[in-house]
Structures are given as C-alpha cells and as structure tokens.
Symmetry: C2
Subunit: 344 residues, 2 copies
C-alpha cells in the first residue's frame, strides 16, 4: 500500500513546500515588509498648491524677513547642509548666540510639534517665531508684512496665491509651511531595504539596525522620521550633566519635571545634521550614539557596536530636496531699509 508520503511526487512537493516556507521566512527576515518595522519609509507629501510652494520657497530664502536684511530661514536651516547650519548654537541678529541647536527643517512636517520644546503645534505656527525673535531674525510680523507689501513682485504673487490684495502674517507663514512640507527626503538606502531591496544595506549596517532595535533606540526613534513622535527626557537612566540653559518642555508645561525633556529629534539625514542634541554638544555620530546609549539605555556600546549603529544611521540619508535657487523680486523705493547696524 502506498502512502502519500512515500509517493515520489508527493515527497518532492513537500520538499518544495518546505523550501518555499524556509525561503519565505528567510526572505522576510532579510527583506522585511516595511509594515513590520518600527521605522517606516518616507513618503513625499504631494504638492497641493505649487504656486504657494513657490512663494514659500522665495520667502524661505529671503533675508528681508529679518531686520538686518542678512538672515533668512535658509541661514540656519540651510538646504545645502541638510536643513541645518551645522553649528552648536546658531547665529542670530547682531551675531547673538542662539539658545539652542537649530533642528533640521527636513522632514519636519512629520513631527508631532515644532521646536525642541514643541511649543508650536505645526510648521505654520513655527514659521512666525524666528522672524520676530529678537535673538534670531529680529524683525516683527508688522515689519515683515510691511516689507513684503512694498515689493510689487511679492504683492502680485500673494494675490495670485491667496486671491486678495492685503498680505498678512498668516499668509506668510502658510506659504512658508507649504514649502517646508515639500522638504522630505525619500529613497534613503534604508527605505530601499525596507521596501525589499535586500542588497541595499551591508552586513554591518544591518547589524547596526538590529542593535538599534534590540537596544531600545527605536523606543523613541521610530516612525517615518525615526524620531519626532514623542517628547522624552534626556538622561533617563543616567542624568545628563549640563550647564546649558535650555529648559526644554518645562518651558511649555510649566512642570519642573519636564526640564531637559525635548522632542525626540529625527534621525533622518543624521549624517548631515551634526552637531547633535539640543545643545549641539555631540560633534559626531559616534559621540551621540555613545552618549545616548549610556544616558537613555544604560548601555555602553563597544567600538564595534557603535560603528555598526553609526553605519546604520548613515543609511538614513535620503534624496535631498532638489530645486532651482529662487530669484527674489527686488525691493521698491518705498521698501523699509534693512537695519543691520542698529538702524544707522
């Protein structure tokens, strides 16, 4: 009597099935579907209103939004440099030292809130801040509106985008936010791997990602931006020793317990956004990984582990926003003059 298992064809079929299952499990491990991973691919935000984005791009590059006529959004969120200035502390009006490291504008639309302390609920609310901050662009919303309203090229463009004659600060920040929403960085090697390109990452980079997951880094650095999804205290396990004045989230909540609690920064393009942390105290990814391991996870990564995590982080560099440098409409004879040197 023949059993099915003894049938040569059945045996072959079983072997094939087993091989297929094994291959499937292996393939899943090696080339996971993105759905199973704590970091998701960056999906570019569709451009809804190209004219508004174009206007916002001009404003982003326009130093006339500052009192000096010298500082634009792009000065501290330099799109040639990963959307940051690569300085520990930014330089504001009259060379004032900024109170906090400039976070990258890249993928910032993916954050739960804006600024390190999350005091702005979205990009639009954020954009009004630096313009009027005396330590940053040192203008005022009234002056910014006055400057733009005096420029015929801007008047025409605002009219086209918003359908009315009068420019106001809400339109300015809305256009800036519309441009900033386009500043996503898809197609990182890690995203290609997430989407199934098994050879997109090296063995060391994959080992780094495993460490990143297994050590708990993903507890905070998750989602498409590998960060930006929560507020966390810096120094969970071991206190962060600092004399830096930033109060973090406490400035928003009023709770002393929230001191040194900050929005978790995105790790997208971390290769480009040095130095790290709200105080810019970590000059390199190696330093940042070491400190985070000890302070947040109570774990001292050895040199090999650290290098593997750094290698993984560098796979998060995506396509940088690619666009033509905007040409700005000239001022008119009635445009308020910039005042770089005390109004003289």
């Amino acid at each position: 009597m023949k059993t099915r298992s003894n049938h040569p064809l059945a045996a072959t079929a079983l072997a094939v099935l087993a091989a297929a299952l094994a291959f499937g499990a292996w393939a899943q491990q090696k080339a996971p579907s993105a759905a199973n991973e704590p970091i998701q691919p960056i999906i570019p935000v569709p451009v809804k209103d190209p004219a508004k984005v174009e206007l916002g791009k001009k404003l982003f590059f326009d130093p006339r939004l500052s009192r000096s006529g010298f500082i634009s959004c792009n000065s501290c969120h330099n799109l040639s440099l990963g959307g940051t200035d690569n300085l520990k502390a930014s330089i504001g009006h009259n060379w004032q030292k900024g109170g906090i490291n400039s976070p990258t504008v890249l993928n910032s639309s993916l954050s739960i809130a804006q600024f390190w302390d999350g005091r702005a609920k979205d990009l639009r609310e954020q954009a009004g801040g630096p313009i009027a901050n005396p330590a940053e662009m040192a203008s005022s919303h009234e002056l910014a509106v006055g400057v733009l309203s005096s420029i015929p090229g801007y008047r025409a463009e605002f009219r086209k985008v918003f359908g009315r004659e009068k420019i106001d600060i809400g339109e300015i920040t809305e256009a800036l936010a519309a441009f900033e929403e386009t500043l996503t960085t898809p197609n990182a090697r890690f995203d290609k791997w997430l989407k199934g390109a098994r050879k997109a990452l090296t063995r060391d980079e994959l080992a780094g990602y495993q460490l990143f997951k297994n050590s708990g880094c993903v507890g905070c650095h998750n989602g498409p931006a590998a960060g930006g999804t929560s507020f966390q205290k810096m120094g969970l396990v071991e206190p962060y020793q600092t004399t830096h004045a930033a109060t973090g989230r406490a400035g928003v909540t009023g709770k002393d317990a929230d001191r040194l609690t900050c929005k978790v920064p995105t790790l997208r393009n971390a290769e480009l956004t040095y130095p790290y942390f709200h105080d810019g105290e970590a000059a390199t990814l190696t330093d940042a990984v070491d400190l985070m391991g000890r302070l947040q996870l109570g774990r001292k990564f050895n040199a090999e582990e650290n290098a593997q995590i750094v290698a993984f982080l560098k796979t998060l560099t995506g396509d940088q926003p690619k666009f033509t440098l905007p040409i700005l409409p000239p001022s008119s004879d009635t445009t308020p003059h910039p005042e770089p040197f005390g109004g003289k």
Copy 2:
C-alpha cells in the same frame, strides 16, 4: 535732349534710392546694430569645464570657507538678490561692518579688475581675498584648505577636476572663478533692442537711453557690462562730500590723487543691486542718477529726465543665473569645527 534725370525710369529709381536711404537711416536709428552702440549685448561665457563649474558652485555656497561656518560667498553676493546683499555695508565675521558696499558678482568677469579699487587682477585673485579677510569670512587659506581636505566628498571632486590628491588654495579660487564666470545675465530687454527688436523698449526707455548717451554717462558706463571698463574719480565736476573711509584706487597706486577713484560699477541689473556707490549711500536709482549727473557731469536732471534714465536702466536687467541649489558634501569627524563665537 533727354537728360538722365528727366527720364521717368531714372526719376523713379532715384526716388526709390532716396526712400531706401531714408528708411535705412530711420531703421538704423530705431533698431541699431549693436556694433554702433557704446553698450554691447552680454554674451554668455561658454562653459569649458562643467565639473570645475559645479565644484566652484558648491564652494560659492559653502559657509565652511568662513571661520564661523556661517558666511559663504553667497552671503554677500547673494544670487537670489542680483549677486549682492542689498546692504549699504556688508556684514562680516562677528557682525563686523564691512568697509565697502559689496559689488555684484553678476557679469563680474567682464571687469578690467576686481574689487572697487581693482586690487585683484581677475576673479581668481579676488576669490582668495574675502576668505582670509578678518573682517569678512575671517578664515585663512590654510584653514580653508584644511577644512576642504577633511571632507571626502570634496577630496573626490577636486581629484576629478584637478587630477591630483592635494587640494590647494589655487584650486579653490580657480574653481570659484570658473563658476563666477558663468554668472552672466544675457537677454536683457536692452540687449534685445540692441539686436534689432524695435519694440523691446518703450518710448520713455529709449528717451532715457538717448539722455544716457547724450549727457555723457556712457563715457564711463560702456561696454557689455555698462561699466567695469575703467577707473574714475567720484566727483569729477563737483566734489563728493563724504566721511566714508574708503581710499579707493589710492590704496593700490599710493597716489593721493587717486583717492575716491574707483572702478566704474556695472549698470547691468542695477534694478537689483541697490543701494549704490562704494559707500551704498544712494538708496534708489533715482538718487544715484541725480548724484551722478551733478557730480560727474555737472548736470541737474529734471524729474522727467531722471525717470527716463531710471526706466532705461531697468531695461538692463537680464536673465538671472538659473541652477539647482547645490547640496554640499558633509564634514567628517576630522573636519576642523567652525568657530563662530571666539573659538569656544
């Protein structure tokens, strides 16, 4: 006896000839060949070495050529703003007030020399100046070379362009100059008129050009750049009253007679390059035309004449350089850190 002049055919031929001559004179006046005009069309410089131009573009936008990591060539020669900063005096390292108005980089390759006082013979020699000027970018040639040599992306690009491992300041300035040479602005409405497009200029603009020629402005503002071809004393007829410290050409020649002698600035894109003069004292084209008329020509233009000349000057705005914002290669762990705040 018939004379030739009485022959009906001969009379017709003569009339046709006379009409043709009259038409020719009229056509020449209305749509002159550029060869007859003191201002010539801008002819773009052919790009000889695209890789060198690309490298130069990156360097032009790279603030790491400054000690602070904040000031790039584009900070004061902003290609979104007509190749200038639109400030009376530029802002240098530590917010120092610049000694002289930043001239536009647009069409600068057409000048006989560089800087207001012509102390650099060409763009390459010029490019080394601001990098090492303590009041401007405040770096040094040694530091700039050190910074770029520490950046793998730059090392590869310099190797590709110059064919050797070692980066030196000569290569840096050569690449910058190669990029700057591409910054011409062809196709101004005036150039279209020069090339025969009779309707490219309005009646007022043409009247302004006639005034510009007949009053003697073209004596200095001539050639393709409408300037940049000679050094001239500011205040030829009427002395220029100023307390500004700039010595002008005297600083180069050592002759006191050359005080307030400067390179004649280009008028190309004058609509964009406000404020005017080496001290930036003229805020508007109206002011500049008025002062030039009185000081250089002993002529007080009335309001209509002034407006016509200004209208003509605005026809010199050409196509602005159009290119993708460069993405800069990231620093490495060994890159010297920027020192915006006294090296702290």
